[in-house]
Every structure is written in structure tokens, then in C-alpha cells.
Amino acid sequence: MGVIQILYYIMSAFLIFLIAWQFAREKKNVTDMILYLVIAVPFVLRVLHVK
């Protein structure tokens, strides 16, 4: 795996961390909570080497 590909996975993991952080901080707005989880799906699949 090349350096750029490794960076790709690191970036994806970092974005998951940011999304998870926002999800944890959200206290009231359920719509936003759902939104955070939906946008996390492709990053999670990518880090897991699924798609």
C-alpha cells in the first residue's frame, strides 16, 4: 500500500473521529444526530476496506 493510500485511510479515520465527536456533543437535535451517522457510513466502510 502506497503512502498516499495510507494517508487516505488516515484521513477517513480522522473524519470519522470528527463526526463521532459532533455526534457525542449534540444534545437536542435528533435530525442532526441522524445526519452525522449517515455521513459517517462511507468513511466507516472505507476504513474497514469494504467499499
Binding site: I4, Y8, M33, I34, L37, V41, L45, R46, V50, K51
Partner: protein, 387 residues
């Protein structure tokens, strides 16, 4: 438990179920290995990375089957699954590996040329993940791949793909398309390395005839045809006329554009001595105005919207209520490849290539594709390889 945390817990549970259910299917698809039985003509199996070690251990590496007669003659290379969503190509590749016997010269077959793309899908088009072919010993399952390599294996896509070495600007998506990255380079992106390895194979093995198998939409003018550069036009024309006369199906000749780079028929001609040919069989599944993208449509090619368009003369192939069944498409590929080798041999007797055992168009039409696929569970284990 506070209400907020309960809500979050439920949402996380749903998230896990969605990711788990979808992810498991996609993971299984990417990791399904399809068995191929090396037929009586196969003398050895190499890897594409033997021609470019940089591919070793990557998703770009793939099996290369050699069928050598031991009798001096020419060499033909058949490349299938350049675009793994064009399934007639891959199936024809399987039929050659499992059935061909070479009596003079050498036949080389790469049944899954773009291995990475064969383990991915084409996002946004609702492709099925698998399709099955009926055989006497049960249904054989194949992966339904995508057109380009998976982003898991090659990333990032550039804003614009700059072709090497011509510097022609192509769509960003074509950086993952192994019919745009020829002739490739050893230090390029993964798909350029795949094409570089194939070019090395062509040069090192002295390939005379290189055939790249494809499928194309019925609404696309370059369909149901043989694409040939200047060098190959005579052999392609004779082949087109012969299959029309002897076997009764049309397959016209399209000239390879001189200034459109990255394609097999252009770059193999420009960077080697081989005679390249690109075969297109119609595949209604890839047309945009169709009903749902189902396995049935993929296999039988029947669609009411296309039928309506055919009545308005909007299609480039004959189309009726029988659709374009997979038997027609695979049989067409088999017959055209066999005829190309015959015509090349006639024009170049010192490089004769004689292949038997492969079904012709009429054979596939009457018996079905599955009749020519061999049962891996009945085959000797050392003859079973995984694609």
C-alpha cells in the same frame, strides 16, 4: 439513563445494523473467489506481476493462462474483463481457458484483467453484486464487477486524468479504467502499472494478435463490432465478412481513432508489433433508459423501453422481444476470436495459430454458456485456479 443518551444509543444501533448489513454484503462480494478450471490446453499459469514485479501483492495482479502447442507458430493474447461489468467478455475468457486446445502456436488468456474492478461495483447504477450461469452441475456464481478499479485500490482520482505518454486530457474517472491507461508506466497509478505489465507481456512473449473483449450499449454507435487500427483492418474486415456469411451474425468493423489515446486497440498498435482488435458485443443492461438493473436484464437483455426505442430506430443493433441473450453475446465473442486467428494465420502463414475445442456461436446458442463451464468440484485440484 438520560433521554438524549437513550436516543443516541438507538441511533447507534440502527447505524451499526445498516453498516453491518450493507458492509457484510460488499465485503463478501469483494472477497469471493470464482474458481476456473484450467482445461486440457493449459500448460502453465503465470501472474501478470511476472512482467512487472511492482504489481505483486496488489489488487492489480491476476492470473495469466498459457496454452502452448509446442509447434512453432504465432501467439494470440485474449484479454477479458477489462471492464468487468461487461460480463460476456469474462464468460468468453472462462470458456477459452476451460475448453481451448492449441494445435499450433500459443494462446495466452487473461480472464480477469482488471481484478480490482471485478471486486467492486459501479456506484449509483444499482448493479446486482452477482449473477449465475446455469450448468448441468448447478448454478455457477460470478461476481458482477464495475467499469473501473475500486477506490480501495487506487486513490485519489485526479481532477483530470493526463494520459501517459501522450498527455491527452481524459476524464478523471479514467485513471481507474484499464481501457484508458494503456500503454501504462511502471511508476504510474495502479491501473497504469497493470497496463504496463500487459505491454511487457506482449513484447516479451512476442504476441502477434491481441484481442480485448468488451460489451457496449445498444444506443452507442460503437457496438456489435470489431474495432481495429490501420494494421488490423484487413484481418478484421475478412473476419466480419466471414462470420456474417458462415455463421449468420453481423459484426461490422470500426476504425480505431488515431487521436484518442489510452485504449487497447490504439496503444498496442502504437507501442508493439501486435495486431490489436477490440470486440464489442451489445449489452442492453448498460443502456441508460432501461427498467431495473436486474440479473434477468443482465442475462437476457430484454427491456420494454429499449423495445420502444428500437421501434423508433434509436438503437444501433437489431432489437426485438427476444432481447440480446448472453448466449448470443458470448457465442459471438468466441466465434469472432476464432475467426480472427484464422484470418491472421491466412495472411501470415509463418505465424499460424490453430485453436480447437472452443464452442462456436451456434454451439453456445444451442447448448447455453453453462454447457461449456466445467465443474471445479469434479476437476483435479491442481487444475482449479481462483479469479
Amino acid at each position: 439513563m438520560p433521554r438524549t443518551w437513550m436516543t443516541k444509543g438507538i441511533l447507534l444501533l440502527v447505524f451499526g445494523l445498516v453498516v453491518g448489513a450493507a458492509g457484510a454484503q460488499l465485503f463478501a462480494h469483494r472477497h469471493l473467489d470464482v474458481p476456473i478450471v484450467a482445461g486440457p490446453g493449459v500448460t502453465r499459469v503465470a501472474k501478470l506481476s511476472d512482467y512487472h514485479p511492482g504489481l505483486r501483492g496488489t489488487a492489480g495482479d491476476t492470473n495469466v493462462f498459457f496454452l502452448e502447442s509446442g509447434v512453432p507458430g504465432g501467439t494470440t493474447l485474449v484479454i477479458a474483463n477489462t471492464h468487468p461489468n461487461e460480463i460476456s467478455a469474462g464468460l468468453a475468457g472462462f470458456l477459452f481457458v476451460e475448453n481451448a486446445v492449441v494445435e499450433q502456436g500459443t494462446l495466452i488468456v487473461i480472464p480477469t484483467y482488471n481484478n480490482s474492478a471485478s471486486r467492486s461495483t459501479w456506484q449509483g447504477d444499482g448493479y446486482p453484486l452477482y449473477f449465475g450461469i446455469e450448468t448441468a452441475w448447478g448454478e455457477k456464481q460470478f461476481r458482477m464487477g464495475g467499469r473501473g478499479a475500486s477506490q480501495l485500490d487506487q486513490w485519489p482520482d485526479p481532477d483530470v486524468f493526463v494520459h501517459y505518454p501522450e498527455k491527452q486530457l481524459l476524464s478523471y474517472i479514467d485513471a481507474r479504467n484499464t481501457n484508458r491507461t494503456w500503454p501504462g508506466r511502471p511508476d504510474g497509478v495502479l491501473m497504469e502499472q497493470v497496463c504496463y505489465a500487459a505491454m511487457q507481456l506482449i513484447r516479451e512473449e512476442g504476441v502477434d494478435v491481441a484481442v480485448d473483449l468488451h460489451g457496449a450499449e445498444t444506443m452507442f454507435p460503437v457496438t456489435n463490432c470489431i474495432v481495429a487500427p490501420e494494421r488490423s483492418v484487413r484481418v478484421a474486415t475478412m473476419t466480419s465478412l466471414t462470420v456474417k456469411m458462415k455463421e449468420g451474425f453481423a459484426n461490422h468493423v470500426e476504425p480505431s481513432p488515431k487521436n484518442f489515446h489510452g485504449l487497447t486497440h490504439r496503444e498496442i498498435a502504437d507501442h508493439s508489433d501486435a495486431y490489436p482488435f477490440l470486440l464489442e458485443a451489445p449489452i442492453p443492461f448498460l443502456d441508460q433508459p432501461t427498467g431495473p438493473k436486474t440479473v434477468e436484464l443482465l442475462l437476457n437483455g430484454k427491456d420494454d423501453f429499449l423495445l420502444s426505442l428500437a421501434a423508433q430506430k434509436r438503437l444501433f443493433v437489431p432489437y426485438d422481444e427476444n432481447g440480446w441473450p448472453i448466449e448470443n453475446r458470448v457465442g459471438q465473442h468466441c466465434s469472432v476470436i476464432l475467426e480472427l486467428m484464422k484470418q491472421f494465420s491466412k495472411a501470415n502463414p509463418e505465424s499460424t495459430i490453430t485453436v480447437t475445442g472452443v464452442p462456436y456461436y451456434a454451439d453456445v446458442l444451442s447448448s447455453g454458456v453453462g454447457a461449456f463451464l466445467h465443474d471445479p468440484s469434479e476437476a483435479s485440484p491442481e487444475t482449479v485456479y481462483y479469479q
